[in-house]
């Protein structure tokens, strides 16, 4: 496989509703930003591109089948190769990896990946119904299908197995909303306290409205290229491209029905040992895995991506993570899946300084005074909880923020430098579909490596 680079990205403004534009024009908003960032006009990049990949999650939300080709057409990328990518909440992450495959395989030299979702076309509760149709319509949905309920059941079990507290979850909400305060792309920019999160209306016990991401309209675009593709872009623009190398790709899966998750052994990371998950502190003398407290797909995706990128101890070797925090609880579960801490330590990790940005004051003494603050910032952008979650765009949004971090261009694109991770050399992005059915992990590195 050949080296693949992300050369630029763009994000539309995410909002509760964007009636000002159709989904095609939202895609153009993100795509043209990414192209202009390369110093090119859209027509020129379209000439150079060998094809594209378009992602959106729901035909129900779009109320339009084949919306992928309609976006490709509007962007001006017909009649070149293309296809639509879909995989629930991981749609955007899968789209990025499909573009990577196009380049890595030698099939293409330049390939844009563009994703969108327009969720405002129905009310929130109908939207929840649509999303719940991405659970088994024979055995899950009719019982009271509601994704927030599914994740709530997962975290209740996490609390039982590991002693995770609702306040740990609230730390994630405070962190991500505060980070987003410095991100003008974000849908929600709020300074919150633990109490605010816990006092918000209960949605699915113990998850409150501030533990859960919101519905959004938006689009995001990432442009990927081979060495040869980068040269073509540089030749056309007369400018040097600040390349971000894709050094690791991983994907995992699990059963759609959350009840169908078995209870077996933990697939270990290099820095873990079998003995870590055996002993009296576990119910029945060993950790039964994944059960419904953990995402086996997230662990599998991480293991693959880390092996490819040569990562042995993720907390020590990754500078920041943009992960799929549709729920504060799933961010905590994902810390463990990604090996930022061991299984069972996610709650404590959330309430420590480690996943916070070092130079932002959060008003949380245990965090702000922690000498380990900023060890590995998680969701410096604000994540899904604060940026919004226009599903087909979300995984690509993470790629764009990660790209800008590694290019050291947060100030340029956000007009504010606050969330720039100093000395960011290697980042991980993580995209996740309903209760962990599809999970992608992608490792991105600045030129020159870590």
């Amino acid at each position: 496989m050949r080296p693949v680079y992300m050369v630029s990205g763009g994000i539309s403004k995410f909002a509760k509703a964007r009636p000002d534009k159709t989904f095609q024009a939202l895609c153009m908003e993100a795509y043209s930003y990414a192209v202009h960032d390369l110093g090119l006009e859209v027509g020129k990049l379209n000439e150079l591109a060998d094809g594209c990949v378009i992602s959106y999650f729901s035909d129900h939300f779009a109320r339009q089948l084949m919306a992928g080709i309609m976006a490709q057409d509007y962007l001006g990328l017909c009649p070149k190769p293309g296809h639509r990518v879909e995989g629930g909440g991981a749609t955007g992450g899968l789209c990025l990896q499909e573009a990577w495959k196009n380049i890595a395989s030698g099939h293409m030299e330049i390939c844009p990946a563009v994703g969108f979702e327009t969720m405002s076309h129905v009310n929130t509760w109908k939207g929840n119904e649509f999303i719940a149709h991405a659970s088994d319509v024979s055995f899950d949905y009719p019982v009271g299908g509601f994704y927030s309920g599914y994740y709530a059941m997962m975290v209740v079990r996490h609390m039982m197995e590991y002693g995770t507290k609702v306040e740990d979850m609230a730390h994630v909400s405070v962190k991500n909303h505060m980070n987003a305060f410095f991100n003008p792309y974000a849908q929600k920019r709020q300074k919150l306290t633990i109490k605010d999160v816990r006092d918000a209306p209960m949605v699915a016990w113990p998850l409150t409205r501030l533990d859960i991401c919101v519905m959004s309209d938006g689009a995001a675009a990432a442009i990927l290229a081979s060495e040869e593709g980068v040269k073509e872009i540089e030749k056309a623009s007369g400018k040097r491209v600040k390349k971000v190398k894709v050094t690791g790709i991983g994907r995992g899966t699990d059963a759609m029905r959350m009840a169908d998750r078995p209870h077996r052994k933990v697939p270990l990371m290099p820095h873990e040992q079998a003995g870590d998950y055996v002993g009296k502190k576990w119910h029945g003398g060993r950790l039964k895995y994944p059960g419904i407290h953990s995402f086996r797909a997230g662990r599998m995706a991480s293991l693959q991506a880390y092996e490819m990128a040569g990562i042995m101890d993720p907390l020590e070797e990754i500078d920041f993570v943009e992960l799929h925090d549709a729920y504060t609880s799933s961010e905590i579960q994902t810390y463990e899946d990604m090996g930022l801490c061991k299984y069972g330590e996610g709650g404590k990790f959330a309430a420590s300084g480690k996943p916070f940005l070092p130079n932002i004051t959060y008003g949380l003494p245990n965090v702000d005074k922690d000498p380990q603050k900023g060890k590995c910032p998680v969701n410096p952008s604000g994540g899904l909880i604060a940026c919004g979650h226009p599903v087909g765009a979300t995984g690509l949004m993470q790629a764009v923020f990660a790209c800008w971090q590694l290019q050291k261009r947060i100030r340029k694109h956000l007009k504010k430098p606050d969330i720039q991770v100093q000395d960011a050399r290697r980042g991980a992005i993580h995209s996740h579909a309903g209760t962990g059915t599809y999970v992608t992990v992608t490792i991105l590195e600045a030129e020159g490596g870590r």
Binding site: R63, D140, M153, M159, A259
Partner: protein
């Protein structure tokens, strides 16, 4: 947690609108660029579908529920038993056999839904639970009744529950639900 009574600050947004037969539009301006400043037209598009849904090979599981029995799927090779039906084993791919599951089980985890999908909003708050059967590899998603949704507690996890069956079957997995033993 009791529901908070809040004083409404705004009229609710509804999906009903007045029928409109034409739209205001200026005499065609010389500079058509001005039209780019026009606000979007937003219309209602109804969408209703009746599906002809088959439960296929899982049909006996639903027929059993409507007769007061919970079936499970068992793999003879792997010894896995699945309380949610699956025609083939998740490990070896062998065809599974039907077995009868006990009516007593435990709560593995739960939640109280104070909101939900549109279809279930009128039922809020309701309790969803994953039910754990002795000797089963996986779980069963069901409603838990007979507990106070305003007083949720982690103590509910591990609680012994028993199956109750709807007298009038709806041919849905909610034909079975669970209540604490002895209630």
């Amino acid at each position: 947690m009791a529901p908070k009574k809040e004083i409404p600050m705004r009229l609710p947004e509804t999906e009903t609108a007045t029928e409109v037969y034409n739209l205001p539009f200026p005499q065609l301006p010389k500079d058509l660029g001005a039209l780019k400043g026009m606000k979007p037209i937003v219309v209602k598009q109804p969408y209703h579908i009746d599906y002809i849904h088959s439960y296929g090979q899982d049909s006996p599981w639903l027929a059993a529920l409507s007769n007061g029995t919970i079936l499970g799927s068992r793999c003879a090779r792997c010894k896995n038993t699945y309380p949610q039906p699956r025609g083939h084993c998740m490990d070896c791919g062998d065809e599974t056999e039907w077995v009868v599951l006990p009516n007593r089980a435990k709560v593995h985890t739960f939640t109280v839904c104070h909101f939900g999908s549109q279809e279930f909003l009128p039922e809020c708050p309701f309790v969803l639970a994953q039910i754990e059967f002795k000797g089963c590899e996986t779980l069963l998603l069901a409603r838990l009744m007979g507990v106070d949704p305003y007083k949720p507690s982690l103590k509910w996890v591990g609680m012994e529950v028993e199956a109750k069956f709807r007298r009038l079957s709806k041919t849905k997995p909610t034909d079975v639900y669970f209540v604490p033993v002895g209630s």
